[in-house]
Amino acid sequence: MHLRSSRVLPSGALAALTVSAVALAGCGGPAGGAATADTPLADKGFSELTAEGSPVDGGSLTYATNQEPDCLDPHVSGLNAVAAIDRNVVDSLVSIGPDGTARPWLATSWTTSSDLRTYTFTLRDDVTFHDGAPLDAAAVKANFDRIAAPETESHLAVTLLGPYESTTVVDEKTVEVRFTQPYAPFLQAASTTNLGLLSPASFAKGCKQIVGSGPFAFEAWHAGQDVVLTRNTAYRHGDPAHLAEVTFRFLPDESVRLGALRSGQADLAYNLSPISVRTVEADTSLSLLAASPPGGVFSLYLNNASGPLSDERVRVAVQRALDLDTIVASASANQYDRAWSPISPATPGYDASLEDSWPHDTKLAGEKLDAAGWRDRDADGYRTKDSERLRLVWLSPAVESPNQVQAAIAQLIQASLKEIGIELVLDSVPVGTYLDRAYRAFDYDVFGSAYGGGDPDVLRLEFSSANRPKDGTPDGNVTLLAEPEVDRWLDEGVATADPEARAEAYAKVQKYVTDHAVAIPVYVPTTIGAVSAKVRGLTWDPSGFPRLHGAWVVT
């Protein structure tokens, strides 16, 4: 996932959606210490990090990361940077296991009405918030009502609540959440940090603190420097944390994060680029962390509504002209996998049959362009029609520190398209201009972005006609696709709880997208970090964050 700069500007991608939505796939805390939903950090040679030897209580861990939160409240902020910290502080109603099913967390059990509009949760009776307030049905209602209220100005949590209607307190330990329409993704959404439960007494205290019920409690936020968490000694609903203190230190420069880790001034460095992988692998005191969480992949969203790409033949030509295996491998130092579907392989409902279904084929690309009337060439070798050049604009916001992988990919794509006679202009513009051109004037042909999210319903954000931006209000569907069939499949996907029926509906959407080249999936986002060999017992949150609940440090 691309956890970069800001809410407005993820490098080269559609702003917040990219950065923010990683949190979607929340994670399970041990409910009653029994079934834990955490998967070990076994990804890419990581097994040595799983609990080895006996845990040591106490000690502190310094976690070097690039981005400082804008607001610590996960109901308000949509940033990954916030969810990565908050996951250790707030608990959720349920967790999602590696198999994609919901497991107990704060809720011991739940029932779902047959129309998928009512969810009834039975809560644990032994959970208190860090301020001592009980976590009961009234607290759950207060949380969800608050997220839905416009004055909260929620960036991400409100979208996770979907067609929220109301919450009813049945009794102290039973709570009923109702939706205006069938909403199958709710359990997945409820497992995220953004729908995590905060002490209602803390709502009014603003962004600079957070009061949850998790294994760590918020201690301090030194603006511009770090956020400090301490062990929640009153944690009763699972094994308490081992670490006495965790410091999230904000070091925007990657070489400084890596230097701090290698010199022992940090224990974990997060958000490294693929280029750093070799350095990490060469250092025996470090282990590599890498994960490809569920959600959307980095795709080229093509403008289906206007310009040359409104012609499907031209879109298919672009799709087939790109040798993505080579482009992705060279741009990411062999660290990222190329993508075949608009959602990543870790997402439930991923359609593996799309793999190799639209291979690199420059001959086909040329034929499609000829058929579309782009036959002649101008002096620079670009194709023309009615003496107008086949020219595509890739719009992106100018950011301080652009994502190097995406920049390299853009240049390689530009070179590939030139070979078949298409001019690709990489147009990086100031934020204000960008928002206006992207969401009001739709003045672009190509848009590079990755949307996070643990549920295949992320496809709705990407391709539903209802999610087209309008009047300058940013939204997800920048392909501007308005296809009733796709909308219907997306509705089917949220109207059933049956995983197979859902997978079938979403497979149709994925196939439509690649068959008609609505968007071109490019690579599977991978989060890379490195951790000192002193750190043990780390686990991997399904959304791609190292989880500190079970971690300890050996001396």
Binding site: R7, L9, L17, G78, G224, L251, V256, S263, T433, P474
Partner: protein, 316 residues
């Protein structure tokens, strides 16, 4: 007596003009900031909300909060009135008053900048005094070469070099934060001070060389003053042009802080500025612009007073 009485109102007039001209500079800065905020392309509502799907209710609420839709002149007057009362508006991204956002970071930057300024000046003075005058060709050539190299090195690179050497390898200084007190201040302050020291040393040496060839230096030597004492006399002459560079020094410290604070993970106004620029958080950017303008104006006033202290000839 009559002459003194006649001069009093004239002096009052001069003081008034002194302040009025500076107020005009501030008004100019505020106006430019306002225009940047309102006439740049882009929707402040979109910038406030970030690029997430938002309900029409939220959009309407934010529009009202930002005063979008009122005529520009009315917004301008209201903006100025708010400025006079010390209200710089609210950060889009952090949803907190700009004065608070910038204010709580100010002390950290002031400590860093002041340390760097003192360090830079001291270093420049030492180098210039050690390399000026005859019979010092070799030293001077070496110092010049080092100064030129430092000036032409981007400060983020300088910072990373210092970090790699003294923090990552030798582990003398911590990499991050300002909670470490003096040790954690050393590397950032040196990074910020070196380019300033390099430029100041060049200017000071040139001025010293020039002053030492002046008739007064010859006279002083003829009177049997030691070379040391002659240099002290010459220094006073050399310092005057350096004072003029004060504005440049402040500018260099402020822009340097943006990079240095980001690299060293230090809190401060520079870091806030970098984030605000990246996030398109214009109220914060404008706040920093106005703060810089205020600083420049205050400093130029101080420099004028300093001229009078250093060079008595200007007092008449």
């Amino acid at each position: 007596v009559t002459e003194l009485a006649a001069r009093a109102p004239r002096r009052g007039w001069r003081v008034l003009r002194f302040f009025a001209s500076r107020a005009l500079v501030l008004l100019g800065a505020a106006t430019v900031a306002f225009l940047a905020l309102h006439l740049l392309p882009g929707d402040p509502v979109a910038a406030t909300l970030g690029a997430l799907p938002s309900t029409p209710e939220i959009v309407a609420r934010v529009r009202a909060e930002l005063g979008v839709g009122q005529p520009i002149p009315q917004q301008y007057v209201e903006f100025l009135l708010r400025l006079v009362t010390g209200d710089l508006g609210t950060s889009y991204q952090l949803d907190r008053p700009v004065t608070e956002v910038v204010g709580e970071q100010l002390s950290s930057t002031l400590v860093l900048a002041a340390t760097a300024a003192v360090l830079g000046f001291a270093l420049a003075l030492a180098v210039a005094l050690a390399t000026t005058g005859r019979r010092r060709r070799g030293r001077r050539f070496f110092a010049s070469a080092v100064e030129l190299t430092v000036v032409s090195t981007p400060s983020f690179w300088l910072g990373i070099l210092l970090l790699t050497a003294f923090s990552f390898r030798l582990r003398i200084f911590p990499v991050v934060g300002d909670e470490g007190g003096v040790p954690s201040l050393v590397l950032p302050a040196v990074t910020l001070a070196l380019p300033i020291a390099a430029v100041l040393a060049q200017v000071l040496r040139g001025e010293l060389d020039h002053a030492l060839t002046q008739p007064f230096a010859l006279t002083a030597r003829a009177h049997g003053l030691t070379e040391r004492a002659v240099r002290r006399l010459a220094l006073r002459h050399a310092l005057l042009p350096v004072t003029t560079l004060a504005g440049w020094i402040v500018g260099s410290l402020m822009s340097g802080a943006v990079l240095v604070e980001t690299i060293f993970g230090r809190p401060g106004v520079g870091r806030v500025t970098a984030q605000a620029v990246t996030n398109g958080d214009l109220p914060v950017v404008v706040g920093v612009v106005l703060l810089s303008a205020l600083l420049f104006v205050a400093l130029s006033a101080l420099v004028e007073v300093l001229y009078l202290v250093i060079d008595p000839r200007l007092r008449s």
